[in-house]
Structures are given as C-alpha cells and as structure tokens.
C-alpha cells in the first residue's frame, strides 16, 4: 500500500527527525515523508492536493499527539478519493533524549502504524526461565500494595526503601479525600502486614545501585546502608534520641518540626526501630560524641557499622518510587521562606494531622523569644493563635510553562480537603480557594467539591499573583475573574498547593535500569491506554506516582495491576521478546497474519 508518513510534532518532542526519516525511507511502500513542523495548522484541501500528487493510499501521522491532526488528514484522504479510514497514528510520548531505546520505540511505532498493526500487539512472547522473586523499589503505598498482592499469591518479594521506614508520603497524611477517611488507618495495617509477611523481605535504608541480566533473570545489587542501630534489639525507648546533641529538621514533618540525628521517623514507623542519620551524626562526620551508644540500655547502637552491598536474583522489578514536592523557594512571588505563615501543602498536612506538632490544631507560626542574643525562631506553638483568614493557592508550579507544564492532578482535591479541615477545626475562619480550573475528576470528587462550596469556602477563579507582608499579616493579590475585579486583601495564612515532581534519584534509577523517562522525568509506560503498568516488555513495571502524579486510589489500583502483570509473567513462564530486537520483517509478517 502506498503510504505517506507525516510528522506533526509537539513543542517538547525531542526527535532526531533525520534518523527516523532515514529508517522510514527503507520501509517498503513508503512514498512520501514530510515534516509539518511543530503544532502545525493543517489545511485539508491543500493536504489532499499533496496526497493526490503522490497517490498516497495510507497516511501515518507521527508525533507526540497525532490524534490532534487526525481529522484534517481523514478529510484530506477522503478529498483525495481514498479510503478515509486509512489514517494511522504513530504516537510517541516525548522521551528523554538520553535513551537510545526510545528511538527504537519511535521507529517501531511508525513501522507498526505503516503496516496497520496495533502497536501493543507488536511484541512476541517467548518461553524463558523466570525467577519468581520480585524486586520492588519504593516502600510507599504503591510498593506496599504490590508487595502484599504478590506475596499473598505465594511469591517472594524484596521491598527496597530508601528511608528508614515504610510508608512514604501516604504516612504523612491525616485524612484522604473525598471520604475524609483516616489515612493512617488504611496504611498502618498494610505496613505492619508487609513487615510481618514471610515472603516479603524488607530492605529499608537501602538503594538499588546496579542491575545485570535480562527479563526473567535479573541480578540486582543493593546498597544496604548502615542503620547503626540493631533493628531487632531496638525497643524504640527513645533514650538515645534524648542524648543526641544534633537537631535537624524532620523530613517526616515536612520540616516544620525537628528531630535528632538518631531518630525514629515517626511513631508507627516500620520497622519500629531508631536509626542514625549519617550525614548529621557527629560520630560519623568527625568521630566525636557517641552519646547515644553510651545511653542505649540494650546496647543496640553500633556506630561503627559499615554499609554493605548485597546481591539478589529476581525475575521482575517494580518501580514505585513516588514523587517529591516542587521546591517553592523557586517561585519567589508567593514569599515562601520569607513569610513564616506561607506554608506548602505538605507542611499544612502535618500541621492539621492529629499526630502533628500541635496535635492537629491549626495555628499560625509565632516567634519564640529565646533570650536576646539568639535569633528569634518561628515555630508552631500548640497554644498559638489560630488564623482567621486562610488563602489556598492552586497550581503552584503546575500547569506553568516556567515550572512544570503538567497538571499535578492531586492538588485541587487536597486543597478542597484543606478547606474542609479548616472549616471543621476553625468554624469561624474564612477560607479562600484561588484556582484556575477545578479538576474534581474521580468518583465522588465532584460531589466533594460541591460540598466544600456549600460549607462556605470562597472559591475565587483566578490564581493569585503575589503574597506580600504588611504589618503583621500577609496581603494576597489576584484577579477574581468571575466577578471581574482585582482583589487585594489581608490574610493570616497562605497555603500553596505545590506541584509534584519525580522523586529525587529517579533519573539515576532509569539509567541503572535502562528504562524510559518522559521529558518531565516521570517513568514512561508502554502504552498509555492498553498497557499502563508495563514499562516495555522487560519485566519491569511501574506503579503509583512515579509514572505521573496520582492520588491514593489510582496508585493502589495500579499497584494491584502491576501485581497481576508480575504474577502472569511468573506463572506463564514466558517473557516478552525485547522490543528493539524485533526485526521489520517480523512486523510485516504479523501484520499480514492479522489481516488474514
């Protein structure tokens, strides 16, 4: 069939157009290859002329979002007197430029489209020996869920977590939207179950450093960093922590409280054992102190413990590395870091949490005067003043060409949840939501948004521009688009609905594993619609927010889907043939057999 390939790219596609064209020219039946530029405006009649001239019978649109241009080409093909159904799409997400494999995928998706072969059907299964053990990277809710599902099915799981405890971000939350359930009540049992399961081997404070082998038989080298505390012997009495002279911000409390260099991440931490933060411990940095080791009644603290590298053999790998929160210091206009009562979402999450520093009371940061010589410190005093006016700013660093182009997906809902918590805990407080578009897209979400509106939260359409300090309070400025006026009024506290970014180190991981990241750094699934948990038929799967920002519901669903994929992989005894290894002839043959 006489086929024309037309590239309609998006602004963020990094594509070596020459290499792809050179490849496409070699395919049989290709009569025309054209590059329409970035986000082209297409005119169907003139395209029809072009198609007629080359007598094109099938059109392949290649690009980041080829579907956008399908209607123009369908019309053009009809105008040119051909079957308008012969418009095929070769979609490839903008991929990270460091991936050779991504080029192979682009070539393959174009070849599949040119032969009218659905892309997901392009790979073949071959018999192979499969190691039934699974390595899960990341001990957040996604990792825990996948681990439990796989282990319950009777297979061995290694759960590797970078920090000292399971739980991830989900452990920091107080309530979940939209049902306002207690997050800890969902997560904690799962954490405990994971730690006690016979078939789950927990490797906390550990990182993946190297992976060798191929799908079905990987050998993973894991750096097990020294905990300096005997996990089994520690009873979490906390005496060591009392003795420790070093104080640093607590990551679990999003930095609004402090912890010691030897610490328990949080009360329900799994494993429930203290650990030493080597970067801040005086003994580790300059061989002094050692107070904790002297204090420990069980003698569990061994400050001379060494890191070790262990090697494990696995058949499948699950990526569940989650996300980080954008550094709001970068966005100067909201005054984060300058004004003590401008908080990020995670900070507020900890503040409202019943296990947080104020026992769940919402208070403003106040200055603690600790003698005249010391600089006054801003802290949350449980007996402090409650804010009366709270503004929540949506889309901070999301949907913004200057920061992240994508929508962080969870911010609208957690901002609405915050508005509810404010109303619940401070009935007299006024709450403003500054939003651009309210995206309440899940089950029961729209109803939740409606409920928040009815609770008396002021919804202001228009993301505010700046937060400045005046007198004792903050002044927020923005445009209220619905009532067509500029606003400038004082508030006591500003919450920034900060966007999500890929977890730190995920680029390193993608390099170690040879898997693809998109331009924003999120891991790329094989096919967005038909294969959202597989990362390319290599026995590597992706679950949770490390693929793209996701709420807990979707994360858990995807983790279970991953477990299904892993178990199918194990029990079928067949692996996918690696995609880049499929020759063009094979595609043609498969396309023919499908058509017959």
């Amino acid at each position: 069939m006489r086929t024309g390939i037309y590239f309609c790219l998006e602004a963020d596609d990094n594509l070596d157009i020459r290499a792809v064209s050179r490849y496409a020219v070699g395919m049989p039946g290709i009569v025309d290859i054209r590059w329409f530029g970035i986000q082209p405006r297409l005119d169907a009649p003139s395209i029809a002329e072009m198609l007629k001239r080359k007598n094109v019978e099938r059109v392949v649109i290649a690009g980041g979002r080829p579907g956008l241009y399908k209607s123009a080409f369908t019309r053009a093909l009809a105008l040119a007197g051909q079957d308008p159904a012969e418009v095929r799409l070769a979609a490839f997400r903008p991929l990270h430029e460091s991936f050779l494999e991504s080029m192979e995928r682009i070539k393959l998706s174009i070849a599949c489209a040119a032969h009218a072969l659905p892309y997901p059907l392009s790979a073949v299964l071959v018999e192979s020996r499969i190691n039934p053990a699974t390595l899960i990277i990341g001990g957040g809710i996604a990792g825990i869920q996948a681990a439990l599902e796989i282990a319950e099915a009777g297979q061995q799981v290694y759960l590797v977590e970078r920090t000292g405890t399971l739980g991830g971000h989900a452990a920091m939350f107080g309530r979940t939207f939209p049902a306002l359930e207690c997050a800890a009540c969902i997560l904690t049992p799962k954490m405990v179950a994971a730690s006690q399961h016979d078939r789950i081997k927990l490797l906390t404070n550990s990182e993946l450093v190297q992976v060798l082998g191929k799908a079905g038989s990987y050998r993973a080298r894991i750096l097990k960093k020294a905990r300096y505390v005997d996990e089994k012997g520690c009873v979490a009495c906390g005496l060591c922590s009392e003795a420790c002279p070093v104080t640093v911000p607590s990551a679990f409390d999003a930095g609004i409280t402090t912890r010691k260099a030897i610490y328990l991440p949080f009360q329900q931490a799994v494993p429930n054992s203290f650990l030493v933060d080597a970067a801040n411990c005086l003994y580790q940095t300059n061989q002094t102190c050692g107070a904790c080791a002297r204090k420990c009644p069980n003698g569990c603290v061994n400050l001379d413990e060494k890191d070790e590298v262990i090697e494990i053999a696995v058949g499948s790998i699950v990526m569940a590395t989650g996300y980080d929160v954008l550094d709001v210091h970068k966005i100067g206009r909201y005054g984060y870091g300058k004004h003590p009562n401008v908080l990020t979402a995670l900070e507020f999450e900890r503040l409202t949490n019943d296990s947080g520093p104020t026992g769940g009371r919402i208070v403003c940061r106040t200055q603690k005067f600790s003698g005249s010589a010391m600089p006054a410190e801003w802290t949350f005093n449980p007996l402090g003043v409650s804010p009366r006016r709270i503004a929540i700013i949506h889309c901070v660093g999301s949907r913004d060409a200057n920061h992240n182009r994508y929508c962080s997906q969870v911010c609208c809902m957690y901002s609405l949840k915050f508005a509810h918590l404010v109303k619940e805990k401070l009935p007299d407080a006024v709450c403003y939501e500054f939003y651009i578009d309210l995206r309440a897209f899940g089950k029961g979400y729209e109803e939740f948004a409606e409920r928040i509106r009815q609770e008396g939260t002021f919804m202001v359409r228009g993301r505010s521009t700046s937060v400045t300090e005046s007198g004792n309070g903050l002044v927020i400025r923005g445009e209220d688009i619905m009532s067509d006026r500029l606003l400038e009024f004082p508030v006591d506290m500003v919450l920034l609905a900060t966007g999500l970014i890929p977890a730190q180190g995920s680029e390193e991981l993608s390099r170690i594993l040879g898997i693809a990241c998109d331009a924003d750094g999120w891991f790329t699934e094989l096919d967005h619609n038909s294969n959202p948990a597989d990362m390319g038929h290599k026995g590597i799967y992706v679950a949770g927010a490390c693929q793209t920002p996701k709420d807990i519901t979707d994360t858990v669903a995807q983790a279970s889907a991953v477990a299904a994929g892993v178990l199918r992989h194990i029990s079928s005894g067949r692996s996918w043939q690696v995609i880049s290894g499929i020759p063009l002839k094979e595609i043609e043959a498969r396309s023919k057999s499908l058509q017959e």
Binding site: D400, A401, N402, E479, I481
Partner: protein
C-alpha cells in the same frame, strides 16, 4: 444589542505582531501583576478574553492597551507563555489602524512591502520636487544654500498641517470609540477638570516609572531613554517649525537654538542606539518580538538624524555641494517620516496621554454614577 463576533480576529491580529493568544487559560496572573492594571481598567487578561471571543467592537472601545507600557513582566510570569505583553503591543498597533480613518495604517501594518514602497515613493517624489525647484532657483554647486530656508519651511509646515489634521481626526475617533464603550456620556465638567492630565502625561510619562523592572526597582533607565526620545522629538519639531532659519543658516553660532538643536540630536541618537541595541539583542521581554514597523521607525529616524548632522558638518567645513546633496537626501527622509506619523507607532505619543485622560474621565463618571445609586455596570456587560 446583538454582539458581532469576528472569528478571524486572532489571525488578523497576528499580522499586527500578536503571538499565542489562544494559549491563555485565564489564571489572571498578568492582570494582578501589572502595576497599571486597576479597578475597571484591569488588563491584560480581559483583552485576551475579548480577543479569544472575537469581539472586535468591544476591543475597539478599549483604552487599556494604552495604559500598558510594556515592561514585559506579565509575559515573563505568564504560565502559558501567551505573551500578554506582546499582545497588548499588537493591540496598540491594531487600534492605531482602527482609529485611522484612511485605512492606510492597517495597510502598512499588514505588509512590510507596501510600507517600504510607499515610503520610498514619497521620498523619491519629494526628492524630485525639491530638486527641480532648487535647480530652477539656484545651483547645486553652492556656495549659497541650494534650497532656501523659507521654501523648506513652507514644505515642512504644509506637511505638518496635513499631519496635524489627521492626528486630530484620528484622536477624535479614538475618543468617540472609548466614550461609546462607557454607555452614558460623561459630563463636560469632568472633561474640563481632568484636562490637565493631557499635557502632564505627555510631558512627564510618569506612569512609565510605575513599571517595575524585575519586580523590584523602578524602570528609570527605560524612562530616561523614553524621555530622551520624547524631548528630542519635541525640541526638533519646535525648532524646525519656528526657528528653521536660525537653526541652519548661522554656521558658527553657539546661541540657545544651536545648543537645543545639538541636545535634540544627541537625545534622539542615544534613544535610537539604545532601542536598536535592545531590539537586535532581543534579551528583554519587551524587545523579544519586533514588528517590521518598529524597525522602519528606528531606521528612518536614524537616517534623518545622521544625514542632518552630516549635512551640517559638510556645510561648516565649506563643502557646499556635498552639503546641498546631503541636505536634499535629509529632506527626502523627513517628508515621508512626517507623512507616516499618523499611521505609525509614533501615534502612541498622542494616544497614550489621551487614553490616560479619557480613562480618568470614565473612572470619574462611573464613580459619580455609583454615588448617585445608578448601576455601575451597563446591562450588556458580562463577566469575562
């Protein structure tokens, strides 16, 4: 009242230099960040909305593009890279074309070729006319001036009169459009009371200082360059209109006229150099996109100033013939430059103070209506 929608408006505006209008998703950042956006004159977001909806009749009545001094802050902060600052700039060009009763401005803005050919044609006609006049009344070899000052001044004053007439008609059209947009006509007392704003804003350009460079310091540099250009122009126009003979005939003098003339030339040259540097470097947001009319404006002005200085230098060094030829070339630039004024970017010098004056009048009128209990908004207004 039926509302007419022009679905091609955005495409039309693209020839006036607009980019990415459709990118705007109305977060309102730009309007809130703009130091000039205020009360009933909130912009640029609202302008973007009207553009996206294609409401050209409503856009015609807008004064807000003239309240913008294009510091580019909105464009830097825009999360969608919709370039609101640049769109306000192109709206000014579009409005200049709309106000212009002859329609020539629109032709110039749409096509660089038309503009260049027209300018060249007028230059050639001027050259031919002056040359034939000069040759029939004297000799190009000198030593006396080849073109008598009185003749030049007549030509100049005639051109200036025609230009002034056009400027007045167009300014009236602008005022008419703007007041039409209000709904009810303001009382004449308000016009009188606010009239001082016209010369005040024309001379001081004070509002430019409200533009904050990078959000912090005021844009003093920009203001100085702009003020230099304004005063350079003003000095030159006054001198040429009233003191042309003294300005050029006295060869060795150092009187006040000569000092003013040299000052004017220096101010203009400095302004041109700074603006050209900015436009060619494209580092500042305001200079990132240049329309062909902006460049012609600068280069023609540059040509006039340079030939002016050059002919003067030649005359002082006694090269009469050279001086005469360069002088002729100088005038060949001046006449098209003058005739281009009512159709060009230059008109912002008039429209901007006028818009500030009208905006103040409208604001006062609305406030008065508000006080007397009438509805603030006319019934046709919808929130955008």
């Amino acid at each position: 009242v039926p509302t007419r929608v022009n679905p091609k408006l955005i495409e039309e505006l693209e020839s006036f230099g607009s980019v990415n209008v459709q990118n705007c998703y109305h977060c309102g950042d730009c309007s809130a960040i703009c130091p000039h956006s205020d009360g009933i004159f909130a912009f640029p977001r609202k302008t973007m909305r009207l553009l996206q909806m294609g409401l050209e009749k409503r856009l015609e009545t807008l004064l807000t593009p003239w309240l913008c001094y294009h510091c580019g802050h909105c464009s830097t902060e825009c999360p969608q890279q919709a370039q609101p600052g640049e769109i306000m700039m192109s709206m000014r060009r579009w409005l200049i074309a709309r106000y212009d009763c002859t329609g020539i401005a629109g032709l110039f803005y749409r096509s660089a070729t038309t503009e260049w050919i027209t300018v060249a044609l007028i230059a050639l006609l001027t050259g031919a006319g002056l040359l034939s006049y000069g040759l029939s009344h004297g000799t190009i070899r000198g030593p006396g001036p080849f073109l008598p000052d009185t003749t030049v001044q007549h030509v100049y004053r005639g051109t200036a009169l025609a230009v002034l007439l056009l400027i007045m008609v167009n300014s009236l059209r602008m005022s008419f459009f703007a007041i039409k947009g209000v709904g009810s006509a303001p009382a004449w007392q308000i016009y009188v009371r606010k009239l001082y704003l016209l010369p005040w804003h024309f001379l001081s350009q004070k509002r430019l200082l409200q533009c904050k460079k990078g959000g912090e310091e005021a844009a003093y540099g920009t203001w100085l360059i702009h003020a230099g250009l304004v005063f350079g122009h003003a000095i030159m126009f006054v001198l040429v209109t009233f003191f042309l003979d003294q300005m050029i005939s006295d060869r060795t003098g150092t009187g006040p006229i000569h000092i003013l003339r040299d000052l004017g030339a220096v101010l203009l040259l400095t302004g041109i150099t700074c603006a050209s540097y900015g436009r060619l470097r494209k580092k500042q947001v305001r200079y990132a996109y240049s329309h062909h009319t902006d460049l012609l404006f600068l280069w023609l002005l540059c040509y006039i100033v340079v030939t002016g200085i050059f002919q003067h230098a030649l005359r002082r060094s006694g090269l009469a013939m050279g001086a005469n030829i360069v002088y002729l070339a100088h005038l060949m630039g001046v006449v098209p430059w003058m005739l281009r004024i009512p159709f060009s970017k230059w008109m912002h010098m008039i429209y901007r103070p006028l818009a500030l004056f009208l905006a103040e009048v409208i604001r006062e009128t609305k406030a008065a209506q508000d006080r007397s209990g009438k509805s603030v908004r006319d019934s046709g207004t919808i929130a955008l």
